[in-house]
Amino acid sequence: MLSQQDMLEAERHGRQVRSIYVYEAPVRLWHWINALAMVVLAVSGYFIGKPLPTMPGEASDNFLLGYIRFAHFAAAYIFAVGLAGRVYWAFVGNHHSRQIFKLPIFNGHWWSEVFFELRWYLFLEKQPKKYVGHNPMAQLMMFFFFTVLAFGMLCTGFALYGEGLGLGSWADRLFGWVIPMLGGSMQTHSLHRLGMWIMMSFVVVHVYAAIREDIMSRQSLISTMISGWRMFKD
């Protein structure tokens, strides 16, 4: 539905207007704050599981892993609050703001565009299509590898955090059920760590696709995430 609407919008406006306001300020702000938090989370998280070489000197003079864990938890709160704000904006924002939260899976046309994009990435299509919001393929990837995964990381993360805060703490009461469900604390750590790798795989593809489409497609990408305006090049 959305993408059909997008197509019409794009075709109608494309030649006359050449640019459409797509990503509202809160979405853009969230994107970059979230991206930063994600990098901090992944790096600090990696070193929580595989710490740096031993620090020399007295224990009382050092607090390295303590700081790394602090960075992880601080970024985690930013990530969590940001995600909550982003969910809120999906309700009050424009229809593009809902794209990463729901997929039009019953829309045949949308699926055909997903496959069109797949062919485009496999070099089987010569001419890319125009989209006002996310392209359907990107939307699909974002839904599974960002939105679903992000909530998974949130639940496992705060469950682990609740272990530190202690039994009966707010994090334990809200998320503590995750740990027995996943088969124990160690298992939760392992899956949380695996989630980090999956998230990083998404980021690699995402950043590559953003840069590639910015160059190859018929519309602006990266500047859209900065200014909010989608420019069409033809």
Binding site: N62, Q127, I179
Partner: protein, 364 residues
């Protein structure tokens, strides 16, 4: 006309003085104040004794071994006389039909009012024939005995989670007690074995207060399993400082740094070792220089090496941990992206040469 605990103890020759000492030790080990000492004494003097039947399934008896080594001889004597009076096939004097008759008798006489303590678990494959108790599959005996019980104690990792018998591929389908008995309150006291004082503490609590202790989500008594090893570990300052043992024979090992990098499972293990310690408080694994292996956690045999923090993930059939699986995936994705970028650049250069630059992004 059932006896009280106190009467039983006196009959066994335990003095009132020893009895009072036991009451105060119990109050302390349960984390209760001195005000509870008279309450415990009163309860033991006046309440009719609750019988305990102690069953053994698939197990190694390490729980019993731990239990009878409870630090305070007093506690041991008292609790053992409470227990062995009824049924524990490893400890009691009776044997054969005479012994089995006791279960029937307790079931009839104390219907709905006795406790079943289970050490080990029932295997379910081949109709339970992998564990025979008095000529019958253990699972049948367990179900029958528990049918009229007031509450059940699952001793150790075997009864609580399955432990080594249930380790992959679990040929006998050894199954934790709570998956077989679903209609009774069950207290899980995991560990391989559990700490002796934890075991006597749990039993005494249940016998004196006539109720089960407060449990966490996994059915473990909060007073002993409410915190992780890591939360009370005396090496924790080295963890926060980032000071780790990197080899068993390095200087850091001699200095007693944190064992996290040697695979210590303290951060993911709920037990009382770091506060109560073992063998009457003499030492405990981390104090003697070896990491915790997570013996009181679900499926600890199947989670890969005891000596690696980033351990295997059960959900994968193949052997693999988060870094192997995830790191490989990220590497493959990275390589694919690089290849894709190269192909894109080539295709673009070729189409530029042919003058077919309609999708090259150049302004028209």
């Amino acid at each position: 006309m059932t006896e009280t605990f106190y009467e039983v103890l006196r009959r066994q020759g335990i003095t009132r003085r020893s009895f009072m000492k036991f009451c105060s030790l119990t109050a302390t080990s349960l984390g209760l104040g001195s005000a509870f000492v008279p309450k415990i004494a009163h309860a033991l003097e006046n309440k009719p004794r609750t019988p305990v039947i102690w069953l053994h399934g698939l197990e190694c008896t390490c729980c019993s071994e731990s239990f009878i080594r409870s630090a305070h001889p007093l506690t041991k004597d008292v609790v053992l006389s409470m227990l062995s009076l009824d049924y524990d096939d490893t400890l009691m004097a009776a044997a054969g039909h005479q012994a089995e008759a006791i279960i029937e008798e307790v079931k009839k006489k104390y219907k709905g009012n006795y406790i079943v303590a289970v050490e080990g678990n029932p295997p379910l494959n081949e109709d339970g024939m992998f564990c025979i108790h008095g000529g019958r599959p253990f699972v049948e005996v367990l179900k029958e005995t528990c049918a009229d019980a007031k509450a059940i104690i699952s001793w150790g990792a075997c009864a609580s989670y399955g432990c080594v018998q249930a380790a992959k591929p679990n040929p006998t389908r050894a199954t934790p007690v709570h998956k077989v008995i679903t209609d009774k309150p069950i207290v899980r006291v995991p560990g391989c074995p559990p700490i002796a004082e934890v075991m006597t503490g749990v039993v005494t609590y249940m016998l004196t207060f006539d109720k089960i202790p407060e449990l966490d989500r996994q059915g473990r008594p909060k007073m002993f399993y409410g915190q992780r090893i890591h939360d009370k570990c005396y090496r924790r300052p080295h963890f926060d400082a980032g000071q780790f043992v990197e080899n068993w024979d390095d200087d850091a090992a001699r200095k007693g740094y944190c064992l996290y990098k040697m695979g210590c499972k303290g951060p993911t293990t709920y037990n009382a070792c770091s506060s109560m310690r073992w063998n009457g408080g003499v030492s405990w694994p981390v104090q003697s220089g070896h990491g915790c292996i997570g013996c009181s956690e679900d499926g600890f045999w199947d989670k890969g090496s005891f000596y690696d923090r980033v351990t295997d993930i059960k959900q994968f059939a193949i052997e693999g941990n988060a870094d192997k699986v995830g790191g490989t995936a990220a590497g493959v994705v990275g390589a694919a992206v690089a290849a894709h970028a190269a192909v894109t650049a080539l295709a673009r250069a070729r189409s530029d040469k042919q003058g077919d630059n309609q999708n090259s992004g150049d302004k028209q």
